[in-house]
Symmetry: D2
Subunit: 442 residues, 4 copies
Amino acid sequence: MSGSAFDSAIYRGLFTHPDLARLFTDSAEIRAMLLVEGALAQVQGRLGLIPETAAAAIHRAAMEASIDPAALTAETGRNGVPIPALVAAFRAEIGAPEHAQFLHWGATSQDIVDTALMLRMRRALEIMETDCRRLLKGLAALARDHAETPMAARTYGQYAAPSTFGAVAAGWGAPLLRHLDRLAELRPRVLCVSLSGAAGTGSAFGPDAPAIRAGLAEALGLSDSGASWHAARDRIVELGGWMAAAAGLTAKMGRDMERLCQSGIGGLRLGAGGGSSTMPQKQNPVGPSVLMALAPYAAAQAQVLTAALSPAEQRDGGAWFAEWLSFSPLVLAAGRALALAAELSEIAEPVPEALAAALDDPLGLIDAEAWSFALAERMPRQEAQGAVKDLCREAQATGANLSDLVARDHPGVALSPANRFGQAPADARAFAEAVDALPAGR
Amino acid sequence: MSGSAFDSAIYRGLFTHPDLARLFTDSAEIRAMLLVEGALAQVQGRLGLIPETAAAAIHRAAMEASIDPAALTAETGRNGVPIPALVAAFRAEIGAPEHAQFLHWGATSQDIVDTALMLRMRRALEIMETDCRRLLKGLAALARDHAETPMAARTYGQYAAPSTFGAVAAGWGAPLLRHLDRLAELRPRVLCVSLSGAAGTGSAFGPDAPAIRAGLAEALGLSDSGASWHAARDRIVELGGWMAAAAGLTAKMGRDMERLCQSGIGGLRLGAGGGSSTMPQKQNPVGPSVLMALAPYAAAQAQVLTAALSPAEQRDGGAWFAEWLSFSPLVLAAGRALALAAELSEIAEPVPEALAAALDDPLGLIDAEAWSFALAERMPRQEAQGAVKDLCREAQATGANLSDLVARDHPGVALSPANRFGQAPADARAFAEAVDALPAGR
Amino acid sequence: MSGSAFDSAIYRGLFTHPDLARLFTDSAEIRAMLLVEGALAQVQGRLGLIPETAAAAIHRAAMEASIDPAALTAETGRNGVPIPALVAAFRAEIGAPEHAQFLHWGATSQDIVDTALMLRMRRALEIMETDCRRLLKGLAALARDHAETPMAARTYGQYAAPSTFGAVAAGWGAPLLRHLDRLAELRPRVLCVSLSGAAGTGSAFGPDAPAIRAGLAEALGLSDSGASWHAARDRIVELGGWMAAAAGLTAKMGRDMERLCQSGIGGLRLGAGGGSSTMPQKQNPVGPSVLMALAPYAAAQAQVLTAALSPAEQRDGGAWFAEWLSFSPLVLAAGRALALAAELSEIAEPVPEALAAALDDPLGLIDAEAWSFALAERMPRQEAQGAVKDLCREAQATGANLSDLVARDHPGVALSPANRFGQAPADARAFAEAVDALPAGR
Amino acid sequence: MSGSAFDSAIYRGLFTHPDLARLFTDSAEIRAMLLVEGALAQVQGRLGLIPETAAAAIHRAAMEASIDPAALTAETGRNGVPIPALVAAFRAEIGAPEHAQFLHWGATSQDIVDTALMLRMRRALEIMETDCRRLLKGLAALARDHAETPMAARTYGQYAAPSTFGAVAAGWGAPLLRHLDRLAELRPRVLCVSLSGAAGTGSAFGPDAPAIRAGLAEALGLSDSGASWHAARDRIVELGGWMAAAAGLTAKMGRDMERLCQSGIGGLRLGAGGGSSTMPQKQNPVGPSVLMALAPYAAAQAQVLTAALSPAEQRDGGAWFAEWLSFSPLVLAAGRALALAAELSEIAEPVPEALAAALDDPLGLIDAEAWSFALAERMPRQEAQGAVKDLCREAQATGANLSDLVARDHPGVALSPANRFGQAPADARAFAEAVDALPAGR
């Protein structure tokens, strides 16, 4: 089937991150849920709450069992949750009823589903972090190599003042450094087990409920959630926000790349890709376009999560189902965005001559600001600005170059590279160094 | 794979409309695109623009060809669009190069992709209309059967004044009647071919471009779009808005059903479904919860379409790809919502005693408004309101019934059914009649 | 205060439509609510349900009364709705209690608030339609005047094939013609009174409830809603969708204008505006940027309305309040977008030389598609495409012009204007004629 | 004017936080922008970049100046930014041109606007933190006082199993504790100056650009941003996400309160407020409804910010203007939500008898889960579940109480409070202690 582009054989080359897609298959979900059931039994066995032999049998079976997703369809459709069907199928697979009876002991569906999601998200965040770091490396190389490659900064699409390509690339990357900080902060808060039973009180676990939860967390390498989070979904929203913003930040790079690639601008080349079915000459910037598509898509899915932040009471099917619809697509979208952005950062080649053309504009107007500050060393600033404004008008009217006009009226005033490029080269290099200095990830 | 719940074997019983899902598979998409290519060749043959034998060969092959979606993955990933790969694969399948060369003659990828989408949407809207009409019939039956089944209208969750269950059910349905009107209006405007070539000018079709487009529209049973809509996406947004609102309207019913089903309220029964893995007594209102989940999900996908309403220039990969990501999931969500709502309308059974309980409140406060208007026939209205307010306070303080207090202070004043239920029964019956009177759909 | 940019003295020159802003002031809202109360009394007097003298007194007072919005603050904060405070203040103003007691007879707050909103929306839609028609006229003039002004169509920002500026301008306008159709369809469905009392049953109006509602509709020039729409908000969502899409369609024009205005492209001039505080040479395309900002803002507000489409039960404070927060800002955003777009359509001046430059590209690659179809008249199409692809590569490698290379290898093959521009001039003129042929609006 | 409910005299009692509203007036914005200009001059004076006397004059004037917002309307409308007009007006006010010329030295509009926003956000976050802590205190009191007040946990609106009101209140508060952690993390990252000039390179500041920026940060009590963030808007998005989630978390409480307040449930009282214009008996839960309205509204505004996360190039009017439209309304919405939630936490009074009624259900089904675990101490779990399921059916069929049936079939099996309430009392108390242990805020 392919109700979604991520699941489509036609489109998966465009939109799908293979490693992440593998984490969000039915079988990976079942595997994760079984792992949680297995670890739960193991912990309960260790604490003496269920027989150790049963625990061992369940734990072992959980790693070996193979349950057909299609076997869960009908009952999940009736119940709204896959766990009753999964538990029944798993029990059948275990065989020994004297052991199998201790499966899912005291837990509720949401405990298993949410914990299994977190297990997969731990891995998904690792993948995303890896791609984010690869992207940062790609950008750091661009920033360092082109720290002094001149180009025109643009505001509202207009030439504003000189900058360098390296500074622009650093500008794409700087927020991603902060985004790694955010990731480090959210991990321990967010990646946690859920284990609080049907009413969120853990009553069916008996007085050892907190110990079981702590043990499960340890066994699975997740945090202990403390109290129930069946209806406290801030963690899901925090994850969603991080992923949507990650996609958005790559779309910023994508948008700038697409604009630099425009015919008539030509400041960037992206290598092959994007032929047209009828236009032999076309090389479309497909990758940047994909980034620009993934970002609003990811943002919309995150919005669904935010809307589900106020579920009713102690469990709310509507809010929870809304998460199911939007969460995995969000992971896939954000993950693809980071990986694709990393690729683009590695194949992007600025075209220095084309970039420089803006600064060599025959009228020289892009240096107007720089001239007005250079002149302001000799005269009051307003007067300097007024003088430059007048000379700009004269340049536009006569076709003369602004620097010639300044030289005529204000001999001896000159522009230094620092006047023109300011902190751009230094900012580019500082970014590259910050990337180099990143501590190793997980 | 199952990056989306709609494609998941585990969850499809909950979220997926089988007929619509079948329309949004890779193979259905390929079939639709081939149909468009076949019809295009046929029209061009008829107009003498390509050889009739080639046209016939292409047209025939288009109905028989079977192309493996996986064969398109790699090139689609590179090109951003599936058509170059599809055309190549189809050409290979046709075999005869003297015919195959006239395939896709003058068209651009977007012509084929968009027209193929519209072909499937024509069918999808038929399915949705059928479900919508089934839902209306279910609601009409409830409205008629319970036109006089008393219940308390609630505002802000509080008992407001007496109404009837039939009027409430009619209230769920009335906007859907208007939504069928909207559907009828949008169909001819929206369901149209796209055929304007790479630049939207149809230049590769030669002077017959408008005739080819008109012919294609006729052959496929779609409207003629007039000028290019590669970058004029209002039709997509109109479709998206209709579908998102359809889902939202069913969620209104879902929310009310969930609230009526609440333990302690118990005004509605929905039959079986929704057992809990640990709570033997639980019958969860799974269906209404699914409706409440599909609506925000659908709205978010429609939002992506709205954001893609301002693509750049004559074709914009980013905006178009964003449509691809969100459009089919929106169709699947809205379609499932309508079908599930129809099912729920058929199995919903109001519980008259439970509904009436609110009106039999020992204090009788729900009739306060009715009493104040009854009293206002004898005294100035403000005075009447004041008197009733005082009696309400007395009832709350003493536990006396408001009607007894009114009888004590204002003997002879009485409430008629009309006083209590107003237009509720008539509104319920009028809705049922309007549904009966619906002209047959397509 | 200025919690919103629309209300800010600083920003209103940028974002605010003065006529629409006037409709969405506190005093205009109070005036509209009083008009509804006055018309209701008048109708009830005419039907003999309240004394004619009281009706006349209320009706007259409703037109003359002046109620200080600040007098409603405290009680509205407590009650959640402004009507109790308004009715009290209005009663005090009327003075004569024997008349004033018949004010607001049988109505509930939502009847008044919603009907008053519809009254203002009737006027707001007139204003928006006027601006939309003005925008269409501006675009029609551009389309006609520049039907044959050559420019490069761009896909993914790349030169795709030749088109004309007139066709591009027509492309901005064509969806707006459909949007006027939508407006005509929605008006009678949406612009209606609300009059169904506290429980939506109209019980407090007695058996004449439908007649009163019909009378009120007639008196106010609105449609009769039929049954209660306190909790059936599809009309609000339809209005919201129309307005958000209107803003989105203007943003399409805005985006294209901004891109045409880019330094280094220079295909469009927008007159004065947008000086920089430090860059004397800058002329920013402020107007197009405002359009690009209003569209996502409007879409987000419409999204709030869609989320409020499933209110609970017969009235739901939460859903209704969410409408209050987002509806007027949406009107103001969409209205400003249409008016500003109209202005821009009138001051936009294409720069033919700059536009043509793309077509005069030394390599001549933009005509690749046209050449491949011209060649295909002599040889199989695939062969023609292959030949042109090879020549394109040669042109890129050697700097030769594609047309020279074609002439060398395929003497006698030539491009006609129709080959190059296709339907572009005809589409541009057809759009202009369609605008001329628009029936007069309301 | 009142294009927004926050600015409306009618509605401000419902929606507006007075202290936050005061921060988001035109005059507060002007004051903040002048403070930034004043601090900039002071720093530049101290570094010897402009004359110290000029610096002192500007700094002093910045604190005293009073500039009429309306004086900026026209030029802001033209330029798109308020700074040129503000600088001109401020210069005029300073009077001495020999000093005034050094105003805004080297800065660009966005430096001033963004830094002034951050100045106000520092204060706004303090206000929100104060309200959040007040809310936590209110919830802690509820949690502690009602740690053992029995109520039914509900899932899908159905009685699930016993819990306590204190645990439910703790469940509202626990995510807010995490939200304070997030706030502490984001403050130093987000609350920073902007000072990078027209092209983001700080070229007009000369080689001291970093020192000026650091000095400005210190003078204003904000962080040093490092490189330019004109087009790196992750900080804005992080702020927006925090605020939208804050509103969403209060809406969770609001939704639960509204449901507990339902007629027929009556588990919570909220004191006075919410009278109906026609229903004397109604006490609407207005406050909870406002929370449910603010959350989707806030989420939509945050969505606009996320969409603006990929601005084009070095400054992008469209993306920035979109922030202007949505940011202050988001602050006002989130701030009101926190303050109103705090009020509600202080006036909320659970109704123990009504809450307990669910647990005293004649059939005793809510204890089914507890019984099945109690029985499982004697027999295999599946057998125990099966036995309880059978007894539940018998109870429903015969009207007998489940505990009597268990006693009949399994004498000696008993439920302890721990069986029934599990960790609920402990969770409630642990939350209250965590609130008590909060370190003092800023």
